[in-house]
Amino acid sequence: MQDAFVRAAERWPRDGVPDNPGAWIVATAKNRAIDRIRREQTLARKTELLARAEALPDEEDAVIPDERLELLFACCHPALALDAHVPLTLSLVGGLTTPEIARAFLVPEATLAQRLVRAKRKIRDAGIPLRVPPEHLLPERLRSVLATIYLVFNAGYGPPVRRELCAEAIRLAALLATLMPDEVEAHGLHALLLLQDARRDARVSPDGELVLLEDQDRALWDEAEIAQGRAALDRSLALPGTGPYQLQAAIASLHAEPESDWEQIALLYARLAELQPSPVIELNLAVAVGKAFGAERGLAIADAIPGLDEYHLLHSARGHFLRELGREDEARQAYERALALAPSEVERRFLRQRLER
């Protein structure tokens, strides 16, 4: 896929990202990957999947391994209360105890126990099926399962970091990807979690504060885990279709390069913004476009995003662009606004440094 990006970025004129760059680029990359992998590696892939299925750990105190996928879908069923999905998944599929889950989510044990009992009773009494949903229900249900696993990971990603939750989320994503090997987003999520987890030691400073990506000590990144993440991303890219987790994993993979390739990152954010429109993704797109194609174009995108006026990162990005464009007064105003809104000391310190310049 990265080859396709390089090629496309070379072909497109510097002064214009096409209207729909993401679709084009993903399709191109995908076709090439499909050609390559489908033609040469069908047997190898099956052998590998089989090996990975066999390597899955048997959770002794959890459930029969054969039923874990069905259970996962039952735990994330839309007829269950949303706040029951994560604890139920950790309890029934992950094998965590109620006190462990209560501690991880800072919920009183009695509250959690009651939530779990109610949800389990509903699974039984309301006839929530223990099965992988049929084709017509699968896309929606799979989204719910993926979101639940991602929530488990984010709960552990911190700061404060809770390793065991991240590890559990990665185990669940690996399980899902192995048991549903044809689902592009199962591999996409697995890849994303591995690539994010690989940066865990560099992401938080010794005093517990968040370290921005560009300031992270890359020697602390887990290279082996990055390689695993990229392997999962390749498996995802070999399948038809795309999705938000796959695109985010591709972005994370590019950020793990010695030099971030901002043109490719901008293209991926453009595609992500199409699939999953949100102001925060637009802002990421603006930053990437600014880095790749110049501050003026980045600023134009940032200024067109509605509803982010209370979001410090919007003003921080605007400050950055305005300073690059030599509009110093406006840059200072933007940084001051960002400083007033920033929620953490690390970010305030960063913004004060910008203002002192």
């Binding site: 006839g127 099926p129 049929p134």
Partner: protein, 119 residues
């Protein structure tokens, strides 16, 4: 297992429709009922007269008290039901979503108690 599909909607909803819309709605319900019956999953189903016809009954101290009106005065009222026999909640949700009234009001899906010992 059996599920009751309870059809809630605005009690005045039917009257608010034009005669043309009422005919369309009626035809949609007939078509749905035919489809459900043909599938072999239908146990029962009826429409209820408007809430204005409701009488609430309570027995207190051995005395029967009948009063005008529904159990609870709400904007949305029970307007009808289907009782179906299907294998899973997913299937029940699928039928509930096909009820014409689901596009205007809410269908509450309730499993029927089968094992009184386990309650």
């Amino acid at each position: 297992m059996q599920y009751m599909l309870l059809i809630y909607g605005e009690d005045s909803g039917w009257k608010a429709l034009t005669p043309e819309q009422q005919r369309e709605m009626g035809a949609a319900y007939f078509a749905f009922t035919d489809e459900l019956r043909a599938s072999g999953k239908m146990v029962a189903g009826d429409a209820l007269q408007p809430v204005a016809t409701a009488t609430s009954v309570r027995v207190r101290g051995g005395e029967t008290l009948a009063t005008d009106g529904p159990f609870a005065e709400t904007k949305e009222a029970l307007g009808g039901y289907y009782l179906i026999d299907v294998d899973t909640l997913d299937e029940a949700i699928g039928w509930a979503a096909k009820i014409p009234g689901a596009a205007y009001g809410t269908i509450e899906v309730r499993p029927i108690v089968t094992d009184y010992e386990a309650m």
